[in-house]
């Protein structure tokens, strides 16, 4: 194992209300692959963003090649040889592969861009990495996997000394991952240091040398991959004390009627043959890691995205859901993980958002009965304890938690019996979180049923009566809350080679 090339020491970073990094240490050596692991929100990405200058650290030191550095932006980091391969792709779909690789630093002959040379260089690069991509192909015509390869190739082309892979395999197929591993092994031989962020335990075992684990913004420890087991790593990842009492037993009677039954739902790669049942008064937790296909399942179920096949039964009756209208008419409400984009209309008032899905119930002749609208909005503001001076307030002025409450109010007003909460507490501070939890419990007590998608283990354990675990677009298990443990959930959520 080579010399240390990069050390991050005592890195501290706070965002308003969140202590994102609490004195984190990290050490990377030449020619090694260091796995950086942790649950969603453990601070892995933040740490890497601090390293590459996207965020400014509050305190701590970064030493790179023996010198203390602080990059102002990704470009500086790139020039120094530290490159990130992003999970979400920064590609220009209309340009060719080679043009993408060299965007911003084209080879030129006079004023002419030397596309020939760029293609040649790209070809050389791909040859070196042993991947088969035509540099002249238009980027948007490549598969996601190939696009990912291009991103890696781009990183390599910077003469990088440290390459950070941020969940590179999320969208790749089996063979593509193999191809990528080949590249990584090649790079290792060239003494390049790599940080590999991933949730996939099997990959970690196969490709990495050491594993650094983070949890809730803190450094937990580093293990030598060969010497540790999957269980060791999971224990480090989840080894937190859960302060809030997890539910120990489902409150739902076993014979409660099934309100929603989904059978063999298929929608693209992210939703493969998903089946489950939801009972009256139940909170069904959907657990899994990023990109497990939970949101996609919910959207397909709701009719927001087209689905290929699958039967949906509401209260025992088979229903057709082709678009959100159908779903809403079946009494399903969907609270998106991305409130600003899919949940609320920010430039409108609380009252208007509250009645968005049910304006028809507020008509007095051809007019909207604003008085009634205000009444109901007031009612929900009170019931949900939404912090707003009045219901005429624009939603844009509310905090995240209160915006969420407005969306909840929207579906309650619509009288939806089945509510899909997609990451209900994302971006919401602790106090508001508890309120939302209380609210959800109250809703199920009133006989509503909830599907809750959450990436937070504590949330899943605290709220769910039953837990469906998904991984790679497939349902990998279903656990009753009485048997649920962080470990067995994580086991189902991380992928095993089949």
């Amino acid at each position: 194992m080579g010399d240390i090339i990069l050390t991050m020491k005592d890195i501290d970073k706070s965002f308003p209300g969140v202590h994102a990094l609490d004195h984190v240490d990290l050490e990377v050596r030449k020619g090694e692959v260091l796995a950086l692991m942790g649950e969603n929100g453990a601070g892995k990405s933040t740490l890497m963003k601090v390293l590459t200058g996207i965020y400014k650290k509050d305190s701590g030191t970064i030493t790179y090649e023996g010198k203390e550095v602080e990059f102002k932006n990704t470009r500086e980091a790139q020039e120094a040889g530290i490159v990130i391969v992003h999970q979400e792709l920064n590609m220009l779909g209309h340009l060719s592969v080679a043009q993408n690789l060299f965007i911003g630093r084209e080879f030129r002959k006079g004023i002419r861009i030397d596309d020939k040379k760029m293609n040649e260089e790209a070809k050389k690069l791909f040859d070196r990495l042993n991947v088969d991509i035509d540099p002249t192909e238009t980027m948007s015509n490549l598969t996601v996997g190939k696009q990912q390869m291009c991103e890696i190739a781009k990183a390599v082309s910077f003469d990088a000394k440290v390459i950070i892979f941020d969940e590179p395999s999320a969208a790749l197929t089996e063979s593509e991952i193999e191809e990528m591993f080949k590249i990584i092994r090649d790079l290792k031989k060239k003494d390049i240091a790599m940080v590999y962020i991933s949730h996939r335990m099997d990959e970690i075992k196969v490709i990495t040398d050491r594993v650094t684990v983070m949890r809730d913004g803190t450094y937990v420890g580093t293990l030598i991959t060969e010497e540790c087991s999957k269980e060791d790593i999971i224990n480090m990842m989840v080894g937190r004390v859960i302060y809030e009492d997890p539910k120990t037993e489902s409150a739902v009677p076993k014979d409660a009627p099934v309100v929603l039954k989904v059978e063999h739902l298929n929608a693209g790669k992210m939703v493969q043959d998903v089946s489950f049942e939801l009972r009256k008064g139940e909170i069904l937790g959907f657990s899994g890691l990023m990109g497990a296909g939970r949101t996609e399942t919910a959207r397909a179920l709701f009719g927001a995205d087209p689905k290929e096949s699958g039967d949906i039964y509401v209260n025992g009756k088979k229903v057709t859901i082709n678009n959100p209208q159908d779903a809403v008419n079946c009494g399903i409400g969907y609270l998106s993980e991305d409130r600003k984009r899919y949940g609320i209309v920010v430039q409108k008032t609380v009252a208007e958002n509250t009645t968005m899905a049910s304006v028809n119930d507020f008509m007095k002749g051809i007019f909207i009965d604003k008085k009634k609208e205000k009444e109901i909005a007031d009612k929900y503001v009170e019931a949900l304890a939404t912090k707003t001076p009045d219901v005429e307030q624009l939603v844009v002025n509310l905090s995240g938690g209160n915006q969420q409450k407005v969306v909840i109010a929207k579906w309650l007003t619509r009288n939806s019996d089945i509510l899909i909460f997609d990451e209900p507490t994302r971006g919401i501070d602790v106090g508001a979180k508890n309120e939302i939890y209380k609210l959800m419990n109250k809703l199920v007590a009133e006989g509503k049923s909830i599907i809750m998608i959450s990436s937070e283990m504590t949330e899943i354990l605290r709220m769910s009566d039953r837990i469906v675990v998904m991984c790679e677009g497939k349902k990998t298990g279903e656990i009753d809350i009485s048997e649920a443990k962080q470990e067995n959930i994580m086991n189902l959520a991380t992928r095993e080679i089949e």
Partner: protein
């Protein structure tokens, strides 16, 4: 050509447009004996020059995902000011031409600042400059029409750049040669220089382009400057082809150019387009302008057909995308 697939795709579109042009020519020729004469060809070319020039320029803003609505009233305004300087202020023709182009560039810079720096929506920003340029020319020139020196007069040599009349009276439309040269140059700029590359990149994904370290503001602005420059050139072409510049005209010219570019495969949502395509698209529009009267349809049908062709062109893209 670096981008084989993309080129192949554009080639398809260009071939299609070429096919449409051929079909139109055949149709008109069959239906009208007077259409299939040399002078008709010349007159199609005549009408195409200023539209082509506008289209070459406006392709750049279109590819960035914007639009430039100020080119139509702009070109009349620039030609008016240029002509005013030549005829009423006695400046040499060359200077007048330069003024015409120069003001075009200035207005392009103005548009660029509004859109790239101040972040105004391109539609509204250029709609405003459209109004401003509409007023600018007449306001500066006292509101009167201007006739640039005619071809016969001593100062009229510039007109021969577009249409050369030999002593024997044969008319040679050499303007088309210049157009093809310009199409070549601008194709080169779009496909083989950083300016073009970044124009496409901005239209494709502005944020990613910025993250790649490209000075996005500058190149975004440059697209509008190019558009302004070509509006200036179009002003000269217009002045050279037609006898008198009437103030107050020009509104609607931009639609011929933008329509031509879109028919030629330039995407209105940015990122896609070729200069050759825009050039060919313009000819579809021009052929309709000239050809329809020849087959006995009143000139007005041209407008209806232009509208239908435009929608058809975009519908093809939409349907393709759906598949």
């Amino acid at each position: 050509m670096a981008n084989k697939k993309a080129f192949g795709k554009l080639k398809g579109r260009e071939a299609m447009v070429l096919g449409i042009i051929a079909a139109m020519v055949i149709l008109f020729s069959v239906l009208s004996s007077t259409f299939r004469t040399y002078p008709t060809l010349v007159s199609v070319l005549d009408i195409s020059y200023y539209i082509t020039l506008m289209a070459l320029g406006v392709t750049f803003p279109l590819i960035t995902g914007g639009v430039d609505l100020s080119i139509g009233t702009g070109l009349v305004s620039y030609a008016l000011i240029g002509g005013f300087l030549i005829v009423h202020q006695g400046v040499p023709v060359g200077v007048g031409i330069l003024a015409c182009i120069g003001i075009g560039v200035l207005v392009g810079v103005f548009n660029g600042v509004l859109i790239a720096v101040m972040d105004l929506p391109p539609f509204l920003a250029t709609l405003c400059t459209c109004m401003i340029t509409r007023g600018l020319g007449p306001a500066l020139c006292g509101g009167f029409g201007v006739s640039w020196p005619s071809a016969i007069s001593a100062d009229g040599a510039f007109r021969n750049v577009f249409k050369f009349t030999s002593d024997s009276g044969t008319v040679i439309p050499i303007g088309i040669v210049f157009m093809i040269v310009l199409v070549g140059i601008m194709s080169f700029v779009l496909e083989h220089t950083r300016v073009g590359r970044y124009t496409i990149a901005i239209g494709s994904n502005k944020e990613a382009t910025r993250l790649a370290g490209v000075n996005v503001k500058f190149y975004h602005m440059l697209a509008y400057i190019i558009s302004g420059l070509f509006a200036g050139l179009a002003g000269v072409a217009y002045a050279a082809t037609y006898a008198t510049i009437y103030p107050g005209s020009g509104a609607g010219f931009e639609l011929d150019a933008i329509g031509g570019a879109i028919v030629g495969g330039v995407s209105a949502s940015g990122g896609v387009g070729s200069i050759v395509g825009a050039f060919l698209g313009v000819f579809v529009i021009c052929l309709m302008k000239v050809g329809l009267p020849f087959i006995g349809l009143q000139a007005n049908w041209q407008q209806i057909f232009t509208g239908i062709v435009l929608i058809a062109a975009v519908l093809i893209d939409v349907i393709k995308k759906k598949k």
